[in-house]
């Protein structure tokens, strides 16, 4: 603050000095202009009348502001300096008569005229007075201006301090764990609001993640509790009731399958964490989506047949996207898996890949019960099990894996009603088909 004050003072002092100097120069120039103009007027007077005109002027304005002196061999009028007189601009002292005889310091212009000279002068006190007046005005406005600037700075500082303090309080509250209330945003649209908005979006994301964690932990607790409870019951039962080796074997086999279910859930969670942890498009390569989907359909058509269902496919050729082939394969397998699990036997699932202008459209449509509009967002959450599916086998992670992989690839998923059934639509950003040299992209390592 002291440095800021000193700097202000220095600037003000420099400004005053410069303005005083400029003022001086300028006032001098003005004075000279006036004198020169009067001189020209005098020179224009016919020489015969000059002495009379000057004598009259000197008589009429004995106290200035202009003084006139005229000396030739034949005539003399007005005050002139004592001794020899040089021509041109000069500062001198004149003894003037007037109301009160006095000696004044003047700025004079002396021109040769009519064999003698003509002198036009103006009192220097005038210039000083002019300078002082101007300086007073300048200093007054300047000082006022500096004061205003200082006051303005203080006000701004106060304003920003207040806003920063508000923000700091909000952030401290967030750090303390209260993520519910948003950050106050003044609505000025300035950088502080920008910062407030950025902090607020961070808060929303943190809260979302914390909700995720909370939901996942309760999901894990719930989903692992069930198989672990079964496991415990089975082991307890085996201990109490098994009498022969075969009975024990059966109990152990069932126990192992319970443990496997727990392990499956864990590895699915780990896999998903890794997919979500993956940054940007690192490790992405051009993928021939048409080929990937065709191979998948070839593999799954007999599977669907064995499950008493049908898989119909229409795949547009030459659709490429940037991505991770194995992940995309897993995503599509999970969608297909979901389709047959929730549809009655004897129905068909249709897969269709179309090429759009900048995005490909992949539709997987079944003829099952569909998902009520209210539940459509919910099914992508971890451990989401709609009541109808609560007792079917599965980890409840299949579609959240789909969502994670889709998000990684910037693929938009939409669930709509296929009337009847569920239609899953994936919008995938297209990639121009790579040249032959790079066409090795396929669902392999």
């Amino acid at each position: 603050m002291a440095a800021w004050g000193l700097a202000c003072l220095a600037v003000a002092a420099a400004w005053c000095g410069v303005s005083a100097w400029t003022m001086h120069i300028h006032a001098g120039r003005l004075l000279r202009q006036d004198i020169a103009q009067v001189m020209q007027t005098m020179a224009a007077v016919p020489s015969a009348q000059r002495a009379a005109v000057i004598a009259r002027l000197a008589r009429n304005t004995p106290d200035g502001p202009y003084f006139y002196g005229y000396r030739t061999a034949r005539a003399a009028a007005g005050p002139v300096p004592v001794g020899r007189v040089a021509f041109g601009w000069q500062t001198m002292h004149l003894s003037i008569g007037g109301s009160a005889a006095r000696r004044v310091q003047v700025l004079a212009l002396v021109w040769p005229m009519d064999g003698g000279y003509l002198l036009v002068a103006r009192e220097l006190r005038e210039q000083r007075r002019l300078e002082q007046g101007l300086q007073m005005a300048f200093l007054g406005t300047g000082g006022l201006f500096v004061l205003l600037v200082l006051a303005f700075c203080r006000a701004i500082r106060r304003h920003y301090r207040l806003r920063l303090r508000c923000m700091a309080e909000d952030v401290e509250r967030m750090a303390g764990g209260d993520l519910e209330a948003g950050l106050a945003c003044a609505g000025h649209g300035d950088e502080f609001d920008q910062l407030a908005r950025a902090l607020d979006s961070m808060r929303v994301r943190i809260r979302q993640r914390m909700d995720d964690v909370r939901q996942v932990s309760s999901g894990i607790a719930h989903d692992l509790r069930t198989p672990l409870t079964h496991l415990r019951q089975r082991l307890d039962e085996a201990q109490r009731q098994c009498s022969d080796v075969d009975a024990y074997r059966g109990a152990v086999r069932r126990a192992i399958s319970d443990v496997d279910q727990v392990l499956d859930t864990f590895s699915a969670l780990l896999r998903m964490a890794r997919i979500e942890h993956g940054q940007g498009r690192e490790g992405f390569v051009p993928v021939d989506l048409s080929r990937l989907l065709s191979m998948l359909v070839d593999d799954y058509q007999p599977v669907f047949e064995d499950l008493g269902r049908r898989l119909d496919a229409h795949v547009a050729p030459g659709v490429y996207c940037l991505g991770d082939g194995p992940l995309l394969t897993q995503m599509l397998i999970n969608v297909l898996d979901n389709a047959w699990r929730h549809t009655p036997a004897g129905t068909a699932v249709a897969v269709r890949l179309d090429r759009g202008a900048d995005r490909a459209r992949l539709v997987i449509e079944d003829r099952g019960g569909g998902i009520a509009a209210a539940h459509r967002a919910y099914v992508f959450e971890r451990f989401a099990r709609l009541d109808a599916a609560r007792h079917t086998p599965g980890t409840g992670l299949g579609l959240s894996m789909v969502a994670a992989i889709a998000e990684r690839h910037h693929i938009d998923i939409a669930l709509t009603d296929a009337g009847p059934g569920l239609r899953v639509t994936l919008h995938i950003h297209l990639l121009a088909p790579p040249g032959r040299a790079r066409s090795g992209a396929e669902p392999s390592r």
């Binding site: 499956d264 896999r271 593999d299 064995d306 499950l307 194995p326």
Partner: protein
Amino acid sequence: MWVLLIEDDVETRRYIARGLGELGHRVDAASDGASGLLLATSRVHEVIVIDRMLPRLGGMEVLATLRNASMATPVLILTALGDADARVEGLEAGADDYLAKPFVFAELVARLTALARRPPLRGVAPTRLVVADLELDLLRHSVRRGGASIGLKPREFRLLAYLMRHVGCVVTRTMLLEQVWDYHFDPKTSVVETHISRLRAKIDRGFGIPLLHTVRGAGYCIKAPE
């Protein structure tokens, strides 16, 4: 089969060593990387199992040292990290196979057997595979049994080729998913079972003696009748 097992977890070491011992295999066990490396360089094992996380000398370092010393003994890496990056890293460092914990014992045995029986000259791959009267020509992409031509879909062909390369060995569902489908996750759908049954219908049905067998609780095996 003479197996070297380098694993620091006492429970897992005991589990594997006892299991392999019961199957009649000979097992040397080490509990850390340095003593494992010493054992590996002093005896000739048919296959080495290395845990990735080892005290004193990490599993990947042991593997790198072995490969730098031009030891070509097949190595299977065991790991708690089952993700794709760790697997690729392991395979690039010279491992022959990769198995994530927890695993089913039959899976480990099947993989070790496949590794131990791998021909030492891996560069020269046969172009024709024969099991009894079943012939598979890798160049012509044709399959014949008893002189009759059998039409297989591409995936069925790959599946049969993999099974025939491991004739007499048990191959597990996971091995098939990894090697034939390139799926490094469990698709939870009977894709392997379905294709095996289609393949069986094509190569075994109507030929009297079945060649493709299901090994209960372990996997599948193609073998000639004894």
